[in-house]
Amino acid sequence: MMPRADMKTDTNITLPLSFIVYGLIALILSQFILFFSSSSLLSGQFRIPEIWMSAHFLLLGFALMVAMGAMYQLVPVAFLVQIWNEKFGFVQFFMTAFGILFLSAMLGIKPNFAVYGGILTVIGVFMFLLQMERTMKKVEKKSMMYYFVIASLSFLLLAILAGFLLVWNFAFGGIPNHEAILYTHMTFGVAGWFTLLIFGFSYKLVPMFSLSHGFSMKRAKPSLIIYIAGLSFLVASFWLPVSFLDILGWMLLWAGFGLFVLDIKEILQKRVKKKLDKPFIFSLIAIGSGFLIHTIALGFSLFAVHHRDIWSWLIFLYIMIWIIFSIIGYLYKIVPFLWWTHKYADRIGKEKVPTLKEMMNEKLSIYLFILFSVAIIGIIISFSVASGKLLFIFLGILAFTSLVYGMSIIKVLVQ
């Protein structure tokens, strides 16, 4: 007998969209705050309240919230399970949204008060983790994507614990090794949670958007194991005075990422859809950029380049051209799908409905993706030649592009 699959897995669209719209507003805010702090950036001052505020609006307000929203939509359809409790999801949204807003704003205005926003954010993330634990428990067929998602959620938990410890230390002190907590928080959050989540969903989304068949995914398991080992060694290097730990960590991270890249290459080679959508190509470029960043980081580590400014910029690039660009590309595909399902799903077969491609302005997306790339390259050049004027211009381009990008996504929702 042929296995059947007629199980309803739709999520109430308001839930993922609430996260995504909040995320887009946070993206715009974060880039304008960065724009108005350009003079501090040029002098290599990343550790000022405004930059912390911008970084948290970007990573928590945009990236984390969008990732949560995307998971509320993708987990049910990818794993064929229903979200455990949608009402709980809405409570979680308001808790996390308010927590991030308060945390980020207070980091810029009154860092001592940020701990209270941190507490709300931690509660919100714990609620999300509980939601996902209850939902993922029902998954019957445990694919490699399942293990990537579980691993990324575990790192989210670790990142949020380390982050809370960090904010606690800001407010009340008591832990002498503040730097190590900060680096651990960043590694777990940025490289653990986001990277593994993007890996996992890419294994689903890349074959789907390219209509690929007959690929092996044989490197997925070693990629996951090696990447987690890399994260562990890198974090250990922050706490232990052993010189080779960071080199070993970056070697493993590079190898894990490389295996993922080889799998994606194979998937694309075996695709049926030859002409890929532009936003999706942007996400693929982000994968290449991510590998480039890992290669540079490994090189710096091997040649003992420990200059703080250089690593700060490398972290900036890791966040922007790998994580943020991946999300920006995928979002251009996910939002039209969400809105299409809401507005046209009941009309399919009854009347002519638009395709997903027709719901977004692909031509505009090309200009936006070029502008995003130009802005990042420009920011690096400005920093290299220490030009305040250039930095101001390119941060302005980045802020303007983020604004138009956010508006173009929201425009899909009024069609």
Partner: protein, 99 residues
């Protein structure tokens, strides 16, 4: 034209919104059956398990087929085996994707 042929014809109107190609040319429809009372069973698949269009396409098939004269109950049997592969596509669909 009997009722099965009419249903098969109607299924050309159901478009996969991601690819912009109808589900028959994509090779997603495995079979259409009908009994004497006009109750229809459509056995079909999707290009990948866990396709986000899962519910929408199945509902679209039901909507479109319900408009066919003489159709009573409709049952969409969504199956994953045999798994879809590109060889199931029509030449027209291949041309659209490869062109």
């Amino acid at each position: 034209m009997d009722i099965v042929e009419k249903v098969q014809e109607a299924l050309y109107d159901v478009i996969d919104p991601e690819l912009g190609i109808n589900i028959v040319d994509l090779g997603l429809v495995y079979g259409v059956g009908a009994d004497d009372e006009g109750n229809i069973t459509i056995t079909m698949t999707l290009t990948t398990p866990g396709c986000p269009m899962h519910d929408s396409i199945a509902a679209g098939v039901e909507h479109r087929v319900s408009q066919v004269e003489g159709v009573q109950d409709i049952h969409v049997d969504l199956v994953w085996e045999p798994a879809w592969n590109p060889s199931k596509m029509s030449d027209r669909a291949k041309e659209m994707l490869w062109g």
